[in-house]
Amino acid sequence: MNPVLKPDLITDVRELLQFGFMVNALAAGTIVAVLAAVVGWFVVLRRQAFAAHTLSVMAFPGAAGASLIGIPVALGYYVACLLAAAVVGPTANPRQRWVGSESATIGTVQTVGLAAGFLFLSLNQALLGEPDSLLFGTFLGITHGQVLILLAIALASIAALAVVGRPLRFVTVDRELARASGVPVRRVEAIFVLVLTLAVAATSQITGALLVFALLVAPPACALRITSRPLPGLLLSITLALIIVWLGLALAYFTVYPAGFYVTTLAMGLFVLTRVVWR
């Protein structure tokens, strides 16, 4: 039986929560939204969207390599992401990135990752499930265990950010002054890249690289345009991300079209709206 959207909101929500898979999907979506909105606020502030995109693409070589040597796909994913982060991380200097060759380094890391993925596939002589589920993810079939792991990673990441958040902001706004004031600049930046890697790897396993990227960039960018103060900005970013995910998943449930389309379209719509209103 196809679900039908009725004018009565309570019935709709009850219908949405009728099946276990949908409850898990909404729980995972909620965790992802909060985590991505918080980490993404710093990503946008530090202008590291390209690095974040490159990390999320590492899903492909990670999965292909893992299936080649026979280890769990999730493990391969974390290893590939951490390797990429080790190269991309040191290039993270927001003030100098666009005048130097750092974007060339990030682009090269991304293509090397993809090329390695193709090599693993060709060595394995096997097909890798569904290539689009890597990119677009599937919200169906998320288990309760996966939700718990996701929750643990999200709590750890947000706790780490709560510790380094203030110095990280200082480093981002004025790196030299932060260094002169005794902030361990490199260590703070390394911790942030680690948190970003964990967040991207954990969430895009479940939601696909595409969804996490839409949540990582658009809601924080909207929030930063409206306010540059950290606490209201972070709360606003989380709120927007939650609206996008819940609406997107509900729309995907009641129609035949994929969640990835709704989530990214809602994100783009909000982004354009804030650009127009807060010029």
């Binding site: 390209f50 682009g107 090269t108 090397v112 193709f118 689009d132 677009f136 595409l210």
Partner: protein, 282 residues
């Protein structure tokens, strides 16, 4: 090796695509637009799927969507240089449209065959036809000539936009034109040799050239040369080693060259810094 027609076709298209990527890539890196190039190569795929849904020629979808995205990115950013947040959001949205189009295509009558057509377009460099390789080489050569012709004003508008405006250069128009050239190369090469090769050859040789020299024209030539070298070496390597895909071999060589050049460049810079300290009076 050159007795095989597919090898000759691959070298013909590969040489010119690599040259175009290397030359444009150096300017792309200088302008900090690698992310834009990356986005365009993803967008090309969505364009192809869209064309399959509408039932028009796949190349039309490819070129229309990449050029439209390039124009959009150019118009959204100051002086036709969109920032990475805009690129990221737009990229996610267009890929989301791709997800929708895939779902539409899978539901339609032409479904499976349409997806195969779109996929087949992103073929390997070793499956190029004779006419396909001439076309790719021709487009790549034309774009290279166009960019080289505009290299001087492009360089000035990149390095010092204020001065360029004072000199009366149309900075925004140049930026838009440059993005359009990037879009044409990406769209054509993506379906001829694969998106992976395009992005790799835009980023890695340019990074290597920048690490070695700061002189613009020398770096431009070096970047083009290194890209062509990586292409030739990689094609030969993948021909010799079975199971090694050509794109992986070319990217591997290009990235290794970049790593070596970056190390060389760093050592040279620290040598120079050391000299300066040693020769400082008193």
């Amino acid at each position: 090796m050159f007795a095989h027609e597919f090898v000759r076709n691959a070298y013909l298209a590969g040489t010119f695509v690599a040259l175009a990527c290397g030359v444009i890539g150096w300017l792309v890196v200088l302008r900090g637009q690698v992310f834009a190039g990356d986005a365009l190569s993803h967008v090309a795929f969505v364009g192809a799927i869209g064309a399959a849904v509408l039932g028009v020629d796949v190349r039309i979808g490819l070129f229309v969507l990449t050029l439209a995205t390039a124009a959009g990115l150019g118009l959204l950013g100051p002086r036709a240089r969109a920032d990475d947040v805009v690129i990221g959001t737009a990229l996610a949205w267009i890929l989301g449209l791709g997800a929708l189009l895939l779902a539409l295509l899978a539901a339609s009558a032409a479904g499976a065959s349409g997806i195969t057509t779109a996929n087949a377009l992103f073929g390997s460099i070793y499956s190029l036809s004779r006419s396909g390789s001439w076309l790719a080489a021709g487009i790549a050569a034309a774009v290279t000539v166009a960019v080289l012709g505009a290299a001087r004003p492009l360089l000035l508008s990149t390095v010092d936009p204020e001065l360029a405006v004072l000199r009366g250069l149309p900075v925004s128009l140049l930026g838009l034109g440059f993005l359009a050239a990037l879009a044409v190369v990406t769209a054509e090469s993506t379906q001829a040799v694969g998106a992976l090769l395009v992005l790799g050859l835009i980023a890695a040789p340019a990074g290597a050239a920048r690490a070695l020299t700061a002189r613009p024209y020398r770096a431009l030539a070096l970047s083009g040369g290194l890209a062509v070298g990586a292409m030739w070496g990689g094609l030969a390597l993948s021909y010799a080693v079975s199971g090694l895909p050509p794109s992986s071999a070319v990217i591997g060589l290009a990235a290794a060259t970049y790593a070596v050049c970056a190390a060389l460049g760093r050592r040279r810079r620290s040598d120079r810094a050391g000299e300066r300290i040693r020769t400082r009076p008193g």
